[in-house]
Amino acid sequence: MDNKENIALDYRYELPVVEGNLKKSDIDDLIAAPLEKKANKNFYISLALSGTALLIGVVCIAITLFNGIGVWGNNQPVGWAFDIVNFVFWVGIGHAGTLISAILFLFRQRWRTGIARFAEAMTIFAVMCAALFPVLHTGRPWLAGYLFPYPNQNGLWINFNSPLVWDVFAVSTYFTVSLVFWYIGLIPDFASLRDRTLSKTKKIIYSILSLGWRHSHRQWQHYEKAYMLLAGFATPLVLSVHTIVSFDFAVSVLPGWHTTIFPPYFVAGAIFSGFAMVVTVLLFVRKIFHLEQIITLNHLEKMNKVILATGMMVGYAYAMEFFMAWYSGVPTEQFVFINRAFGPYAWAYWIMISCNVLFPQLFWFKKIRRSTTAMLVIVILVNVGMWFERFVIIVTSLHRDFLPSSWGMYSPTLIDFGILLGSFGLFFTLVILFTKSMPAVSMSEVKAVTEGAQPQHHGVSDHE
């Protein structure tokens, strides 16, 4: 956009959250436009692309189900491979959504309003993609009910000591809470859409979805309280989820996994990759749906700053792992890390280092932070790098551990790649359908942060 003007921005003052002096009714029109207009060619092209990827995934999953997971590349000693790599990758992607919607809400960051809804939706879709992999890895997904404690005919209970059971609880709680949080945010918007729409069927659908919402302040009062409570719970929840995911590794005694730095390191990595994914998708969404005034360059710049900060945390963690390996004096531990950087999977390691630590450093330059093309390239690299981070952690630690006689190599099969592609297909198909069927930006929240939206002098304020 108008780069020159923006570069002269004065950061000492709060930048307007919504640009271009949009009126409140314009905001509604803008946000509701994709829902009310007929879909154009671009929509169908992108849907066809992502749908194809999804179909490939479905076919590969069907092959897996029919033949068992022997069709994957997993072997001894690399028993955890693509499935867990992808699981951790997708769960991590999801975390940005909760961070934006809950943590930034608690910090009263008003710029979150433009991107929160979208990021929350991405959380839900990413967790759906993530859940796919461990469930498939069990080999018989239709028996997944055994993962939950219920009195069954075998008289057996689940093992509450196991990190894998913690995972089940963490991911399912995370999914449920994210979904509820997202839906709560959508209720007022569904009500607004219900009152806008001229179509009869849409009206019925929106009436049902909006649960009789009438924008009454007597409702808003409880609503805001509930929203705050949910944000307050979602914040520790998001930290706990990736902590527990990291426990899957850290609680074992495998060199390269058994370290206490894992929980914070994983959480930072999750936020890092999640923000990268949000920026990637938002860049397209704001362009396609003309939301540049609501999802402004300032918002993207702020997200890039978060990416820079978390990228450096991740870099610190990489360095710390090496330091601890040396400092611990455990030979196997030291070997695993040297093997990581210079062994047969060194290429993966250096892709990870360059994509996660080196390239994000370019965000120190304001020009690059505010250039849409440059940031698109960098955030995609970050996504690639974070996928490789999980690959490096899992595969390089497993393929050579204590006993040289049981060392081995891992290479994925076509089916592995097909399911990975399919998960991207699922994700983007859901994202595309979401942008077309629900308000991708929160109407009520954005309206509340426009200029002159709030009273100048608070009457008898007991608010916050």
């Binding site: 029919f66 068992g68 057996l156 302040h217 007597r218 309206k447 009273p455 009457g459 608010h463």
Partner: protein, 386 residues
């Protein structure tokens, strides 16, 4: 124009400051049944409406504690009471290991019940219709206007006074909202019944199909059909088509002396029973007898087989013939088989065979006890066997 009773009188404003001052005035004049509708929450409105702060937090607290308690109790009861298992050398109640699940359940219950309680207690869900729906007023406040209405049911309700008040405070428009015509939906409409019926039929079909058909199809059949030889299955590989294999004829394991009298119907000589009838030997003998002999010979060796005529009924082992057989001869029968009775040498080890024989002797004695034996038994039980 409208015969329905008046529900409320409403005013629409286009400026947040104006509505706050109007609402302050309404609340100060003593109106209770009024409400404010704004497209987003306005700062300071709680004070202007004189609302007490939301009590939702208590619900969250209560259910959060419930979640924590549920998780801990469940983990404790399942892993240390109902089915105690030692896992990784941890104690049965390994509190640190239960923390993650406890935390997750706390969050889950707290958030979900907060939302459900908010919807049901404060928003009157599932009732979702309200008189102001489908009015121009609602459309305005849904978009970019701010509105306030006072219900006709309020005891102080005075149309003219309110109109003046609204006008003074700068309302853009004043509306009168009427109650919508009452709609009645009888519960037992044919359409509704049809709907219920079809739901019933569809759920039954799906349930039947998935439980009785799907779960027996590949690959959902618990992988029952696998490419391996399992017991009792025919084998296409071996010429005799038996899946279960016995040792190759004539092979002798190391340190194992083959049975001398194999194949002789009536052996020239028999072996001596090496095992004394100690209680552990009898225990083992009972177990093996019940497993291997009782299907044909009956639990008490009465010859009452459980085979329902699918196999020749064996004789009772309480006959004179059986009681006077030497231990070595019974051993021979088990090892070698006799007429219809097959050899059990591949299923029952040597020690087990002798134990079974000792146990069989106990059964025989019990069935044919004389008065002297009973006296003896009584004496032993009184003196505790010493």
């Amino acid at each position: 124009m409208n015969n329905n009773p008046l529900f409320a009188v409403a005013a629409v404003y286009d400026n947040p400051d104006k509505i706050i001052s109007a609402v302050t005035k309404i609340a100060n004049s003593g109106y209770r049944k009024f409400d404010v509708n704004t497209p987003y929450p306005l700062h300071g409105m709680d004070g202007a409406m004189k609302l007490k702060s939301s009590k939702l937090g208590f619900i969250t607290l209560f259910f959060g504690l419930m979640g924590a308690a549920t998780a801990l109790l469940l983990a404790w009861w399942t892993l240390s009471v109902d089915y105690p298992l030692i896992i990784g050398g941890k104690p049965f109640f390994a509190l640190p290991a239960f923390i993650p699940v406890t935390f997750e359940l706390t969050v889950l219950l707290a958030t979900v019940s907060t939302v459900i309680c908010m919807l049901t207690f404060f928003f009157r869900f599932p009732a979702n219709s309200y008189p102001i729906h489908d009015t121009q007023y609602m459309k305005d406040v849904s978009g970019d206007k701010f509105g306030v209405y006072v219900e006709a049911a309020d005891s102080r309700f005075d149309l003219t006074e309110l109109t003046i008040l609204f006008n003074e405070t700068g309302a853009v428009r004043i509306d009168q909202i009427y109650l919508p015509a009452k709609e009645v939906y009888p519960l037992f409409q044919p359409k509704f019944l049809w709907f219920l019926f079809s739901v019933f039929v569809i759920t039954s079909i799906i349930t039947y199909f998935s439980l009785n058909k799907l779960m027996y199809m590949e690959p959902f059949d618990w992988m029952a059909d696998q490419q391996k030889q399992s017991v009792q299955k025919m084998s296409a590989f071996y010429s005799d088509e038996f899946g279960m294999r016995t040792p190759v004829k004539g092979t002798v394991a190391r340190g194992f002396i083959p049975y001398k009298y194999l194949g002789q119907a009536v052996p020239a000589d028999t072996m001596k029973n090496p095992l004394p009838p100690t209680s552990s030997v009898l225990e083992l003998g009972k177990k093996k007898f019940l497993t291997f002999c009782s299907p044909c010979h009956g639990n008490f060796a009465d010859g009452d087989s459980r085979l329902r005529g699918q196999f020749v009924n064996p004789p009772s082992l309480h006959t004179n013939r059986a009681r006077t057989m030497t231990d070595g001869f019974i051993y021979h029968i088990i090892t070698n088989g006799q007429n219809a009775m097959p050899s059990y040498s591949s299923q029952v080890t040597r020690e087990e065979r002798w134990s079974i024989i000792n146990y069989l002797r106990v059964l025989q004695k019990a069935k044919n006890a004389s008065d002297a034996d009973l006296k003896m038994a009584k004496k032993e039980s009184v003196s505790d066997g010493k």
